[in-house]
Symmetry: C2
Subunit: 182 residues, 2 copies
Amino acid sequence: MNTQTLILAILNFENASGYEIKKQSSEGAFSYFVDISYGSIYPTLAKLEADGLVIGRSETQNGRPDKKVFSITAKGRAEFIKTLMSPPAIDKFKSEFLLVAMCADLTSPEIITKAIDKRIGEMEELLKVIGGLRSDCDHPATQWITSYGLHVKGADLEFLKNNRDSLIAMAGQAVKLDEAAE
Amino acid sequence: MNTQTLILAILNFENASGYEIKKQSSEGAFSYFVDISYGSIYPTLAKLEADGLVIGRSETQNGRPDKKVFSITAKGRAEFIKTLMSPPAIDKFKSEFLLVAMCADLTSPEIITKAIDKRIGEMEELLKVIGGLRSDCDHPATQWITSYGLHVKGADLEFLKNNRDSLIAMAGQAVKLDEAAE
DNA sequence: TTCGATATATGTCGTATCGATATATATCAT
DNA sequence: ATGATATATATCGATACGACATATATCGAA
């Protein structure tokens, strides 16, 4: 899903500045399955405005820099809903942790312990975030996707906790085999 | 994790041509958490060879085009293991399905039914792939990550099947509310 | 009181990566 | 023999990331 559609989705949800769109995508309601960089947001917002899919209004604030708040137009909403109609692409998933875990025997127990404990911490944090999104919003579809997230990420954390020690026990085995061969 | 490290990881596992690296990353042992495009593979392989981290040898085949098989060097292996030592970055995850599900009320029951059934099919397919990887390889760390995948994706599929109908029931509600207001 | 840290806010720029396309060889079923 | 599929390498434009620059304002600490 391209940056344009993601921005339209966020603006269909509520009006926002570029900075607020970034927050929504990396900490807010969309953070669990979306992330957009500033390097994509500002140029795309300019293009979207040029095409009449969003309009921006400057707002002066007290105690903060001015901001430009964007809202979706009728044309933008039509375009967005049209995009929703096409079958969603398969999830994109990349995990450095799984690569490191797969190569556990090439490293040390210390490295693997740090990696899995870091992951357990991140997973607990993510569960808190999703739980927060869930209680903040009684919109049925949001309740559905947050229940989904809680279920899947809960199972994820459960596995990590139950199998932490067995992964650590595999660490450094390739090195030990080398030494035994000498 | 950059393309260079991903290629070193695959070549540390077994020798491969550019085409075979692509297969490993999108259908093989690494496909569950990695994906690399040809547009990254061939230029990176050339750079890796220029830097002495891999070496390539041309092989003629019968009944197939020639291929250039790459293998990792001692320098390449040292570089790869060094990279494994740094704490793994958080998973990257993007889901068009969750965006569509969150906007279920803006579309129709037909669209949502297709989207969730497509996802259920993909999830069943992924479980088969991970199960296959698991039975093909008795390497302990591979057993660990495939058990992890089976556990998490199993929980995912379970939720989808148990909550399919409730999501479909939410579809098109925004449109119905519009009509009721007229 | 000024220094550093943090938060808000917009924007750019080099680089990495994707996705589509081109090209070529060979097999196999229609 | 024609079209589809698989193997194999490579490039190129478009897209997106990640780091940096810049500016305003608050707040606690030196």
